[in-house]
Symmetry: C2
Subunit: 647 residues, 2 copies
Amino acid sequence: MLPEVDNGHPIIHRATDYVPPRTWHHWLFGRPLTTADAPHQTIGKFTGLAIFASDALSSTAYATQEILFILAAAGTMAFGYVFPISIVIVILLAIVSISYEQIIHAYPDGGGAYIVARDNMGKLPSLIAGASLLTDYILTVSVSVSAGVAQIVSAYPELIEFRVLISVIAVFGIMLMNLRGVRESGAVFAFPSYFFVAMLYLTLGVGLFRYFSGSLGMVESPPSMDVAISVVAITPFLLLHAFSSGTAALTGIEAISNGIPAFKEPRSRNAGITLIWMAFILGSLFMGISYLTGHIGAVPSETETVISQLARTVMNGRGLMYQLVIWATTVILILAANTAFAGFPRLSAIAAKDGFLPRQMTFRGSRLVYSYGILTLALIASVLIIIFQASVNRLIPLYAIGVFTSFTLSQAGMTHRWWKIGHLKPGQELAERGSTLRFERNWQTKMAANGFGAICTTVVILIFAVTKFLDGAWMVLILIPLLVFLFSLIHRHYRSLANRLSLEVFAGAAPRATRHRVILPLSGVHQGSLEALRYARRLSDDITAVHVSIDPDEAVKVRQKWETWGEGVRLVILDSPYRLFIEPLLEYIEEILTHRQPDETITIVVPQFIPSKAWHNLLHTNTANLLRKELLSRPGIIITDVPYQVP
Amino acid sequence: MLPEVDNGHPIIHRATDYVPPRTWHHWLFGRPLTTADAPHQTIGKFTGLAIFASDALSSTAYATQEILFILAAAGTMAFGYVFPISIVIVILLAIVSISYEQIIHAYPDGGGAYIVARDNMGKLPSLIAGASLLTDYILTVSVSVSAGVAQIVSAYPELIEFRVLISVIAVFGIMLMNLRGVRESGAVFAFPSYFFVAMLYLTLGVGLFRYFSGSLGMVESPPSMDVAISVVAITPFLLLHAFSSGTAALTGIEAISNGIPAFKEPRSRNAGITLIWMAFILGSLFMGISYLTGHIGAVPSETETVISQLARTVMNGRGLMYQLVIWATTVILILAANTAFAGFPRLSAIAAKDGFLPRQMTFRGSRLVYSYGILTLALIASVLIIIFQASVNRLIPLYAIGVFTSFTLSQAGMTHRWWKIGHLKPGQELAERGSTLRFERNWQTKMAANGFGAICTTVVILIFAVTKFLDGAWMVLILIPLLVFLFSLIHRHYRSLANRLSLEVFAGAAPRATRHRVILPLSGVHQGSLEALRYARRLSDDITAVHVSIDPDEAVKVRQKWETWGEGVRLVILDSPYRLFIEPLLEYIEEILTHRQPDETITIVVPQFIPSKAWHNLLHTNTANLLRKELLSRPGIIITDVPYQVP
């Protein structure tokens, strides 16, 4: 407890000893954490890789297959292009990773595309970046979980009809874990992530050894391809289309830059090293899978994934090793959605703090996580899974546009930032909202790296938009501007609210109202209404009780009782021929409002009946609530509830 | 406007010129009616028969068939018992009708089983009667609509898969008509009712003529019987079982006695004549159908109704006449549900007025109908249709128990009433709640008639309960006591409420409170909260502003601004380490409550933000509402909303 301040204003600061009581919530989500517990909730590189990299790494489970799906249109001989396309994608990965490495060091407090664009490019680009990222986080959950369930279905084909249900249950499982909080989630995620990496390296190692030693055969009884194979020529358009599907492999590498504050100190260094590890693992896995897939004759299919075909060919059938690979892939894919569950709530909280999303998004729940963001993400992702029936192949055209838009904007922003840095004097510092700028010597090289990255990702967006437009990319191209519009609407509301409430333009206390009129609506005369009358008499001597008469017999009773109990207060009985209660009363109040003096305050004192059991509410029409709802929107009316509790 | 009363209490009685504005409601339901419009909404015998008799008459469309369904278990040769069983049922009809004729004259204000049992047998029997009738009204809607749709399906077998949907749509159509009000519904129902009677008499006339002239054949290609025909002997149990299914024909004859107030004056006479007409038409149609059905070899089936088989045999195939019979039957069956829509809301309003159902049931909507009752009925009946998949054969075991229970109770009540009348002195009058008793000379005969009726219907209930117990009657035998229990619970609540509020035990005004404490919760210091402060200062000099601090930076701002704008009022800042807002505030208020003086009033003044657009509410956590919800249940706290509107 702080001492009282000695300036005439007795301001008392009290610590509360309130501890939330134990409920089933604690069992499900863990015990509530105080705000002071927050700094402990950070993670090291090892856990960080598991949490933030699972999205990026797991995309190796479907990226190769999605390239094949497109190439299949030109027949199986087009499959030879898988490996070259993969190499191009890995080069792109390297470029983007270098760019992000620079962002991580520039923005130690978290440098998502939204923040980088906001500080360096202005409001509109930052909103586009935010909308793109939020869209892609949602799709990450839908795609990853659907792809994970596709692995299970590959191993157990009889589950195919339940894949939507299984996917939705998985989303809610991850949601629950995230509502518990980040560190404990990390513990859950660390083992499966590393197990997946180990199993995939093992599969690739055995596969490559058997391939070069000549003992690796072709896929036995491959699944039927669902794609109608027409005799389409292998055009540049087809190859670019396949390339854009494969870029799904890059989704998720931005996650670390958004999540820097979750790392242990020195956080930029820890996050940067994690990013390099991740890029290396991702690139090598993706290349390995694409290389072997081409040599065993795997085909794209909705019923069996390419990973499943690869694993049973390398491991000689569906034995224990096959099962381990499949389950490792399934689990990491389902957990990959966790990356989005770390990123989406954090980004929406940042955007909400800037006034572009509902303020509630900034509230942290009992476990210090952004509960609203987590719930929102789980809900929308589940809806998408249901609409697209958990088909990766139908979801993928919507995916990755958002991520590449944010890549471009953040790198373009960084390019501008380096230019600003290059024009600072040595020793000069420039504090922006998200970071502080200091002169660096090699700014030209770094600007070139980010600039080149921005150009590359812009080209990818154009390829993506053109080749995938009809497949579903148009939805995202409409959705992102819509989201930006929504952000602006929300922002305008908060700004006008702040202006309305601002004390800067406040002229000081208005003249004291001298007259106080009290209106007392009565449904009957009983102890409850007399308590309200007693309170009303404390407020003012100018009281009007009002009874809306639906039943003439009731009106006579009210009149008689009022003569006994009304303490001489004026009673107005309003006839209501249409048996309406609220409307005649509102009309009467409206009439009083039009005749009111400028110095007059009007208070409506409402006797409100409060039953002791909730179901008793069903036995009463709560006119007090209806009345409040109607009256609150009229300026200059104060509403007072005088509750009377009934046992 | 009445003159002001001259006793020191200026009580002003004002007529309101408020007329509800035109909306789409008027187009759907008709223009609102004033209470003064009510007496015009009565009906003559001709319309009365159409409205109140459609239920009873339409049951001829399925009663014969339901007898056949039971007899089928013993093979087709058992079908010979249909006509004898029907004769017994018609005799029962005559007995019950005579009883009801006496009730109608004894209770000109409406003499449903509920009222007769209440005035003559006490509370429990009246509640059982009420529960029975309400249950049966609901089943009337489900059975009639399902049977009507079964006729359509007989004529157009391809519609069989839509029968549940069609039935539910029909229920909501009837609901809409009833929300418009009784007279206009009468106009809609008069033509189909009479058309049905005419078509059925025509069919029976042609059928009987052809039968006696020897030109009536057997049903061509009869539908397959769905009943598994085992070699069951024709036992008394089987015949009683068939009889109890056939008694469904009697459902609905009580409707007129409930609806007497809807008739034009002299209403008892008009209602009584209508009842006799109805009983005669019902009896003759039912006997005719049962007689012919036995001679053409019609079989019970879920795919084609007996009426359809009869009509196409008599009318030589599915020509125009067949179509007219089928459609007449369909329409009257669907409209028969209307009887329940007239009876259910009226009965529930009576029970609600006595405090056994929620008071809202007594409210009449803009068209002077009991809207809540109509909506409730439509909803429950639709749910039953969906559960039983619109199968009459599956619904029928639940049906008729309720009606026969109410028959028994009302006739037993009447028997007691005659006994009371017989013991009055000539010229003496005894006013009860539902009617006035005067001595009558033939009271012994009349008592015998009602007593005999009561015994007959009791026997039917026992037969019904035994033979149909396992078919589903057990559900009703559980449901009715449950409903009676619910009525008692509701009644107890209203009674304890009346006691709590009664001014009989009111000791007069409590000692005037001398101290007034005001608590002002603040989320921030802005124009809205300062308006609330200004109002609080009008109420008292003892004000404590309270800020719950979730964010320390915010607390510093609040403190600084309060020093400038707080007018020297005490501010308490409560730390909230768990980021909760409501709980620490409640704890603080609780603390103040425990230390309060007996003469102290505590008012919480809540600044409430009111956005101009409804969607803006999504952008704010409405802590004012949460706080009100928590505080209203604590005695002795007054809550005042000071709204601040934002453009």
